[in-house]
Assembly symmetry: C2
Homo-oligomer: 145 residues x 2
DNA sequence: TAGAAGTGTGTGCGCACGCACATTCCTACG
DNA sequence: CGTAGGAATGTGCGTGCGCACACACTTCTA
């Protein structure tokens, strides 16, 4: 449709899938658990981190949300009691964000909704082999420079 | 990293690739041709349409940009002389956006930059077979309901 | 040790974006 | 033929988002 070469077709399809699915998944998550996708992403990353905490810079690099935006999102999450700001004794410029028990509970409650949404809107439309190829191909793109 | 199942890995990788590459490609396009990615997308869709024009609703459905946003983007493009608003005699509610000759020229000039960026940042990191699988898999997702 | 350079973080500001609504017009139904 | 309902579009408004900058602190260098 957009261009004849399969390279461009892959990129164009990625853009469209993103534009089509992100709002849907975000709504589902927010309707079921009052949790924006941005919050979920940050909580997920914090929960998987060693010590269940990350500095702002690390969080900005790890999560999808940009480094600049992390400050404000963490503020919101802290106001909601889902994360706690902690000081870093070794580097007093740095600030940690640590997920709280309430945050973990909220994350665990929301996960099934999100995973089911991914399954229903995304992976159910392709074969398991295709999903695996998509994952490995896109991860190779991410590891670039 | 995020979750163990390959399904979620594919979706997570898609989110990250989008977040990483879109700003880069947008900057490249804007630096080389003063053309935001949104403008490029709209111009591309109009250029490929029958009669080189589309109604606002059709444009919103075809392009990545949302239907609501189309109005304002077309305003900007019209102010820049790259598209022209046309009336629809058959339905006076409807409004056409038609790409102008200046718009086509601008699009043709920018295309090599964009395509080279896609090639360099995206498809160069995977095999041709992987790119084909990514394209077909994601297009199947799009064709859902 | 004092100063310069570099790094991590937060914030004012402007732009992009979508929602909800008003407007205009078409269409179906009595 | 008139009216109710629906469809296509544009716009005020609030929110999300990133850039550029300021600030605090660390690290390097002479």
């Amino acid at each position: 449709m957009v261009q004849d070469t399969p390279d461009v077709a892959a990129w164009a399809a990625l853009l469209r899938v993103h534009a089509a699915l992100v709002p849907v998944l975000d709504r589902e998550l927010q309707a079921a658990h009052g949790l924006p996708l941005t919050w979920y992403d940050v909580l997920l990353e914090l929960n998987a981190a060693p010590g269940r905490r990350l500095s702002m810079g690390e969080l900005g690099a790890a999560a999808v949300v940009s480094r600049t935006r992390v400050s404000r999102v963490v503020d919101q999450l802290a106001a909601a009691g889902l994360v706690a700001r902690e000081a870093n004794p070794d580097d007093r410029r740095s600030a940690y964000a640590a997920i709280t028990e309430a945050g973990r509970k909220r994350l665990r409650a929301a996960a099934p909704t999100y995973l089911a949404g991914i399954q229903r809107h995304f992976t159910a439309r392709m074969t398991a082999r295709e999903a695996a190829v998509v994952a490995t191909a896109l991860e190779k793109v991410l590891s670039a420079d």
